[in-house]
């Protein structure tokens, strides 16, 4: 398949052995006259993370929706787990989406369903898994994000931070290989935001989930990029500052005027002399 050769070409250039799970190639999209994305290209390797920065309205959410196939690009190509997602019909896309989990901006929880039904939605509705096993997985996932006691509540009875974490639980319940977080920490207080950041790091490092994190909160972006989760010998999970090699696995992308204004790791971003970046960072 075309993607294999493309993946190989990218790998050769980088001298790596893994095939990318996500490739965007010259993707452009305009709503009527308004060009939102222009020639966006990037690749993402399994287990790595990509952090997309940009002012609001710069097209961050749009990129995630393109990856999920919720929107179609005007031109360019998008490969997800080896499938050419942009050329697929809606029924075909359902297969691709089973490998993806998305945490929507504001959560987008189904407000007519309980927390358990939200989290187990895909397993209940789109798989043949027996109900008791679904319930077990829901409990496990809610335990992982520390909301086990809220299992039978309605979303309207949760705080903003709890809702965001339930949205993460829903996205991860069916064990997707790639998780997309759309401003998962925006509007949360710093302490709750750090809890959410830790979930993202834990999922990435302990469950080997490839992640794309969209945010305009630098504090959270740097936190996720420069920390790692390890399971200690006594079974406890520890979040600690990551070493340099691990830090390199988190790449930043800065969107500006429809294009990519910066691409690189946390240290390079900090050291950048670009004026726009500096105003954004300060």
């Amino acid at each position: 398949m075309a993607v294999e050769t493309r993946g190989a070409a990218v790998l050769e250039a980088r001298g790596e052995v893994q095939a990318p799970v996500l490739v965007l190639e010259n993707v452009s999209l305009a709503f009527d006259e308004h060009v939102v994305l222009r020639d966006i290209s990037f690749t993402l390797l399994p287990g790595h993370s990509k952090i997309i920065l940009g002012a609001s309205g710069s097209g961050k959410s749009t990129i995630l929706k393109l990856i999920l196939g919720l929107l179609k690009p005007d031109s360019g190509a998008i490969w997800v787990n080896g499938h050419r997602a942009d050329a697929m019909s809606e029924p075909e896309l359902m297969q691709v989406r089973s490998g993806l989990g998305m945490v929507f901006q504001e959560g987008a929880l189904f407000d007519s369903l309980t927390v358990a039904e939200n989290v187990g939605y895909r397993l209940y509705e789109e798989t043949d898994l027996p109900l008791d096993q679904v319930r077990q997985r829901v409990e496990e996932v809610l335990g992982f994000i520390g909301l086990a006691e809220y299992i039978d509540r309605m979303p309207s009875e949760l705080s903003g931070g709890q809702r965001r974490r339930v949205a993460i639980a829903r996205a991860m319940a069916a064990k997707p290989a790639i998780l997309l977080y759309d401003e998962a920490t925006t509007g949360l207080d710093p302490i709750t935001a750090t809890t959410v950041d830790e979930e993202i790091v834990k999922l990435r490092d302990l469950e080997q989930v490839t992640s794309i994190m969209v945010t305009h909160q630098l504090r959270d972006a740097f936190y996720v990029a420069t920390h790692e989760a390890v399971r200690r010998d006594d079974g406890l999970i520890r979040i600690q500052p990551a070493d340099e090699r691990k830090c390199d696995e988190a790449e930043f992308i800065m969107l500006k005027d429809g294009g990519i204004a910066f691409e690189g790791n946390a240290a390079e971003l900090r050291a950048s002399q670009d004026l726009y970046l500096k105003t954004f960072l300060s």
């Binding site: 809606e90 989406r97 901006q105 987008a108 789109e126």
Partner: protein, 257 residues
């Protein structure tokens, strides 16, 4: 001025095109798997049982007022005993289906548009798609099935209650003998009338619900957009009820009488 007209015409054509496309998708989804049984049952309950009170009240008072009004007119011809005949004929052929339709447009059409509209603007529809569910199958098909099959049932209930309302007025106000009222009802009801009264609500139920779904799914622009969508749905489906009623009547008259 001309450009304004062109823009308007373009928007109208696009709207109709999207409406037709949604219906095609709905039919396709209704006859292929997966089929969300649970949601279908829930919508039958929501739309059917939920609208019962409104429909019963409307039917009752319509039947009663029909008896009162026709009573006065019939008196001029000394034909008061025929009141049952007029009540049943107007109720079954025309007022039952149309008034039930209008009530459903207000209650069900607006409810669907508001619910689906808020799901659109809060990204819940996108979340459904991201989780592997086709929103048409999950949300539209159950509502359309429920509207299509429950509207006739509700109409029959409205007709029955209306005839009973007419009976109360006939017996206690107009002093018509009870047996006379009932026998004139049976005499006044022709086979074709019954068919017409039964076919209409299927069409009306279908139109009300599909318009509600279409307008709701096309809602844009936050809470305000949802409000606009809800109003539009009520207006569009109410007008459609009257218009569709006319065209179906026209068609059935040519076919049956």
């Amino acid at each position: 001025m001309l450009t304004l007209l062109v823009t308007w015409a373009k928007a109208a054509v696009l709207e109709v095109q999207e409406y037709v496309r949604l219906q095609a998708a709905t039919w396709r989804a209704a006859v292929t798997r997966p089929f969300y049984v649970h949601d279908v049952v829930e919508q039958f309950e929501q739309i059917g049982i939920g609208s019962l009170t409104v429909v019963v009240l409307t039917g009752f008072f319509t039947g009663a007022v029909l008896a009162l009004q026709t009573g006065i007119t019939l008196d001029q011809f000394g034909a008061r005993p025929f009141v049952g005949r007029l009540v049943s004929a107007s109720m079954v052929k025309e007022l039952g289906p149309v008034l039930t339709g209008l009530m459903l447009a207000g209650r069900v059409g607006s409810g669907i548009a508001a619910e689906l509209g808020s799901m659109v603007v809060t990204d819940q529809i996108n979340a459904l798609r991201a989780l592997g569910t086709d929103p048409v199958r999950k949300l539209v098909v159950p509502r359309v099935l429920a509207g299509f099959f429950m509207a006739p049932v509700l109409t029959i209930i409205a007709n029955t209650v209306g005839v009973v309302g007419g009976w109360l007025i006939a017996v206690f106000q107009l002093r018509v003998a009870s047996s006379l009222y009932w026998s004139s009802i049976v005499e006044g009801l022709y086979f074709q009338d019954a068919w017409m009264g039964l076919i209409k609500p299927f069409c009306l139920g279908y139109v009300i619900v599909t318009i509600g779904c279409h307008v709701g799914l096309r809602a844009r622009g936050g809470t305000q957009g949802v409000g606009r969508a809800t109003t539009n749905a009520v207006v569009a489906s109410s007008v459609s009820v009257i218009a569709v009623d006319f065209f179906v009547t026209r068609l059935l008259i040519t076919l049956m009488y």
